[in-house]
Amino acid sequence: MWKLLQIELFKIFKRPRTYIAFGAVAAIVFLFQAGMKFDGKSYLDLILNSVSDSFEVSDDFKGRILNGYFICFAILNILLIQMPLLVALIAGDSIAGEANMGTLRLSLSRPVSRTEYMLVKFTASVIYTVILLIWLALIALFGSMIIFGTNTLVVFRAGTIEMMEAGDVMWRYFAAFGYAAVALTTVAALAFLLSVFAENSIGPIIATMSIVIVLTILSEMNIPLYDKTIKPYLFTSHMVAWKGFFYVKADPEGTTIRGSIHNLPAILKSMGILVAYIMLFVGSAVWVFRKKIF
């Protein structure tokens, strides 16, 4: 099993396509960081507009808000919506790409069971996803920390401003990246399932992207009819729950409780739903694959 996994990882990391995602992530992060470095204050003005009447909003204050933690949080907000597309690039190719190259039959006529083959393939996609996230963490989190320094993280929500002191942030990022890994694995699992049905990789990649885009739009739509009926069941609604790690609890006087999470059960529930989707997608993929004629 381990040997097979090594082969899969070798294949993934030997192909140029794999690095598109790493390059894309780096480009987006770099552009955002550069933008924030030179014009971050204008970006903040937009957000701070609604508090500038009641509070002192000096340049020094804005500069403090624009710290590495904040920059990373803003990057994740933008990027984690796009990352599924990058994950689909590899996971969607996983089986279909082999079918297209004619190597799938060669592989399946080796002494490897189909279930084993599928699990190895999927695991390789997950590892790729995790490595992509580690890369993101390196440049978006640690990179921003180096460029912008660290300070209290201020998270602007629609109705509240959540603040957590610098020492209370890092673990939240670890948790958020962990959650993001699960969220992206869900997309990988979907792409993987679609990959089983196709003979070339373009189909599953585009299909995955389309599904994720449509469902994300549905999740973001504010139509009361959908709020209770459809949205709670869409995996895309739960993919953004990593943000929950940055929503804190406060005591009655409004003081942030260090180390607290505002609604941990909601996060865990979302995570449970994602895990259920992963099992459903991967389980179906393996089932279909086992039945399939090659």
Binding site: L46, I47, S50, V51, D53, S54, F55, E56, S58, D59, D60, F61, R64, I65, F73, A74, N77, N151, T152, V154, V155, F156, R157, A158, G159, T160, I161, E162, M163, M164, E165, A166, D168, N222, V240, A241, K243, G244, F246, Y247, V248, K249, A250, E253, G254, T255, T256, R258, H262, N263, A266, I267, S270
Partner: protein, 230 residues
């Protein structure tokens, strides 16, 4: 005569105090505050605003005559309400005599002397300041300031070791907040389904409080001007 005075002092302290005019009292308060040329104070700041969840932060407050003040968060970021420069009380008298004093008598519950300051200047930012002065100690216990632009804010002071300089150990700055609402496109929001009635009820409270607790002051030790630069 002396004895009479002494007895009257003992028996009717309030009566005696009443005899002091508002001007005299303010003068006395100012005299105390004037002892301070500058200070550097360390303490903690606690923000209590309905829509803000903020950690308690360490602050350094710098003051220099006549009106320079700066609150520096040493450990992070704090939302400092507008008008909070007046946590330094001498700023209340900034217009240096350019105001009318109105004696408001005594407060029924606390017994503090109420003195109202009305700036003479028409376009002064401050419309009215109401001071509650403890006559015995010549310390301002409470100050309510109404501004033209930024609403009304209130200061509550508790004194300790630095009372002789008119410097409080604890200042509670209360102010009215405006609605905070960000459009969804701008925010970092996600709906975790946890909006409840209690939360929205709490949100209706429009008064914010910032509490600064000073642990130490370095008085008249000199504060460089550079501190007050942005």
């Amino acid at each position: 005569m002396k004895i009479v005075t002494l007895i009257s002092l003992l028996l009717f302290p309030a009566l005696y105090a009443e005899s002091q005019t508002a001007e005299e009292l303010v003068k006395q308060v100012k005299a105390k505050l004037d002892l301070v040329n500058d200070y550097e104070a360390s303490g903690t700041i606690k923000t209590n605003v309905v829509f803000i969840k903020a950690p308690v932060a360490k602050v350094k407050v710098y003051y220099k005559k006549p009106n320079k003040i700066r609150i520096n968060n040493e450990s992070g970021i704090s939302f400092i309400p507008k008008g909070s420069v007046n946590i330094n009380l001498s700023n209340l008298f900034m217009n240096n005599g350019n105001y009318d004093l109105i004696d408001g008598g005594k407060d029924a519950t606390t017994g503090y002397r109420i003195v109202k300051l009305l700036p003479k200047e028409e376009n002064s930012e401050i419309a009215l300041s109401v001071l509650y002065i403890d006559e015995k100690t010549a310390l301002i216990r409470k100050a309510r300031t109404t501004t033209r632009e930024n609403g009304t804010y209130e200061l509550d002071m508790t004194y300790g070791k630095y009372a002789s300089y008119g410097l409080a150990d604890k200042v509670i700055f209360s102010f009215s907040t405006k609605d905070y609402k960000l459009p969804k496109g701008v925010t970092f929001d996600y709906d975790d389904g946890s909006k409840n009635e209690q939360e929205t009820a709490r949100m209706k409270n429009k008064t914010g409080r910032v509490e600064i607790v000073y642990s130490s002051y370095k008085i008249n030790a000199g504060v460089p001007d550079s501190v007050f630069k942005e």
